[in-house]
């Protein structure tokens, strides 16, 4: 079935209707989450009690808006910190990996490449517990051996960052590799012929070429970190990132405050996605 081959009208209409239904299905949960952020009620459900901005800006009980709710603001800050750390770390290592796999032929290359892909097929929760187990083994060993209490190896932000980094790096590597593969190496050779040394050639020719992919990888890594749940759940300590904080609240029962946070999240990620698309067009 392609446009150049005529089909009965009924089939075409049914197909079109199916596509419309599919997009309604995709949009529906997000639309209701966004809409109920403005409901002037204690619960994100019908009946509709009227329009209000209180779930964003309200500052007295029972309607404390997002911008006055300290615990949510702190959780957003924590998530942003984790996201930026993970994004920078994973893109740095990802770029290094991309150069390694594209520029060098060595024994064990194929094996290492498969190993590099593995984090994508390990369930996130298993990644989380394995890192939790290993870090406590090390921390306990340090305590038994030299009586040093390695606080950073206990559940907390450092472990959350490491846990997310462990699989987001694979994605960063794939994104950057894809662009590096298309790079014309003779450009670098030309720079060498013109008297540049290797570092200068890479810095002035190859890295600018890679920039769109690196920015894309930073954005993707940041978003993946921001919305990660499974790995974070196992490694989190006392400062909860936003997804964990929202999960804890959702378990106790929801208020439209959560809708307001969700709407802000949607806006934030759309803006980031648009920035990335604009950047890629230019590159």
């Amino acid at each position: 079935m392609i446009p150049s081959i005529p089909q009965p009208r009924l089939i075409r209409t049914a197909y079109g209707a199916y596509i419309v239904l599919f997009f309604i299905y995709l949009a529906l949960p997000l639309v209701v989450v966004a809409a109920f952020a403005f409901n002037d009620s204690q619960f994100p459900s019908l009946p509709w009690e009227g329009f209000t901005w209180n779930w964003f800006f309200g500052d007295e009980r029972p309607m404390i808006g997002v911008f006055h709710e300290r615990s949510i603001l702190r959780a957003i800050g924590t998530s942003a910190f984790v996201g930026i750390s993970v994004a920078l770390l994973s893109v740095a290592v990802g770029t290094s990996n991309a150069f390694l796999f594209n520029r060098y032929q060595f024994r064990g290359r194929g094996f290492l490449y498969v190993l590099m892909l593995l984090p994508l097929v390990i369930p996130g929760i298993v990644l989380g517990i394995s890192i939790l187990v290993f870090s406590s083994t090390v921390a306990n060993g340090l305590w038994d051996g030299v009586k040093y209490d390695a606080e950073i190896l206990r559940p907390g932000l450092v472990l959350v960052i490491l846990g997310q980094f462990s699989f987001i790096t694979t994605i960063a590597t794939l994104v950057i590799s894809a662009r590096l593969q298309k790079f014309d190496q003779t450009l670098e050779e030309a720079a060498l012929n013109l008297g540049a040394d290797r570092m200068t050639a890479v810095r002035t020719i190859t890295l600018p070429y890679l920039m769109p992919a690196m920015v894309g990888a930073v954005v993707v890594a940041f978003l993946m970190s921001f919305e990660n749940f499974n790995t974070t759940l196992m490694l989190v300590g006392s400062d909860a990132p936003l997804t964990i904080a929202m999960f804890d609240r959702l378990k106790e029962g929801s208020t439209p405050l959560l809708n307001a946070v969700s709407l802000l999240l949607m806006l934030g990620s759309s803006v980031l996605a648009l920035v990335m698309i604009a950047f890629q067009r230019k590159g």
Binding site: N97, I125, N259
Partner: protein, 285 residues
């Protein structure tokens, strides 16, 4: 020059080895060792298979394990069936701007966190939710209808959450199919169905395989959707792992559970790759 190249090689190799070694390989070995350990007294441990014995001996654990596997396979199949016509439409029927707009629309829901998507389904399906009110308003139900906290609700959530990971690989492979090949199929007397079976699906196989693997993995390892949308009886295996680690503090048993989950997902991923003649490098890389 030669030495410099070698130095560069080792400089690039080090981060890779540190990452894979310290965060992937050694932690998994450590977890395997932990799962083979049994607590025999205060601070005293012996190596044994007791944790795996507990797993195979307790019907609840085995049952949850099997159920999680079956439900994940089911979620994968449903996602594939829903996503295929849509991906085909985007790749082959829509052209130009419409095509990229539709593709982008598919991506949008997945820029927001899984938590928000699950929350959306809770608002729609719960007793005081939108669907329930709609049914009452239309006169199809007398009182509030609870649609949340059962397997169907959980399935809706799982399929929704992983849709993107099926659509993207399918669209990519279907786009590379030349229209002329489909036309040739029709010219040679094929019906719509035989063209689909003998041309389109074989061509889309790499996309179907990689999409299915990712969707299966995501469903199997999902914690949020079964917890929030599933009911008391729809226990998910990840919930058992969580409760052993965080609630009961029985890390040895939890590690054994983690290994069983890893084993299951590896077997299924490996089996699918073997059956369809694909490789991990080709489907993921």
């Amino acid at each position: 020059m030669r030495n410099q190249a070698r130095l560069g090689f080792y400089l690039l190799l080090t981060p890779l080895l540190l990452w894979l070694g310290l965060l992937i390989i050694i932690p998994h070995i450590d977890m395997a060792l932990l799962s083979l350990r049994e607590r025999v007294g205060v601070g005293r441990y012996a190596s044994s298979l007791a944790n795996y014995g507990t797993f195979f001996g307790e019907p609840l654990y085995m049952w949850t394990f099997a159920r999680t596997a079956m439900m994940s396979v089911l979620a994968t199949v449903i996602t594939l069936i829903i996503a295929f016509p849509v991906s085909y439409y985007i790749a082959k029927m829509a052209k130009g701007r419409t095509q990229s707009a539709l593709f982008l629309l598919c991506l949008v829901p997945f820029w927001v966190s899984e938590l928000v998507r699950t929350f959306g389904w809770m608002i729609l399906l719960r007793e005081t939710g939108l669907f329930s009110s709609l049914l009452q308003w239309a006169g199809l139900a007398d009182g509030p209808v609870e649609m949340l906290y059962n397997d169907a609700a959980m399935m809706v959530g799982l399929v929704y959450t992983s849709m993107l990971f099926m659509v993207v690989p399918l669209v990519t492979t279907l786009e590379s199919l030349d229209d002329a090949v489909i036309e040739a199929g029709y010219d040679l007397g094929g019906s719509g169905f035989s063209v689909l079976r003998e041309i389109v699906i074989p061509h889309a196989m790499p996309g179907i395989v990689s999409g299915s693997i990712v969707v299966f993995m995501l469903s199997l390892g999902n914690y949020l959707t079964p917890t929030m949308l599933g009911g008391k009886d729809s226990l998910w295996f990840t919930e058992l792992i969580y409760s052993q680690f965080i609630v009961r503090f029985n890390w040895e048993l939890g590690a054994a559970f983690g290994f069983m989950l890893l084993f299951l997902s590896s077997v299924i991923v490996w089996g699918t790759l073997r059956l369809t003649g694909q490789t991990l490098e080709k489907t993921m890389g």
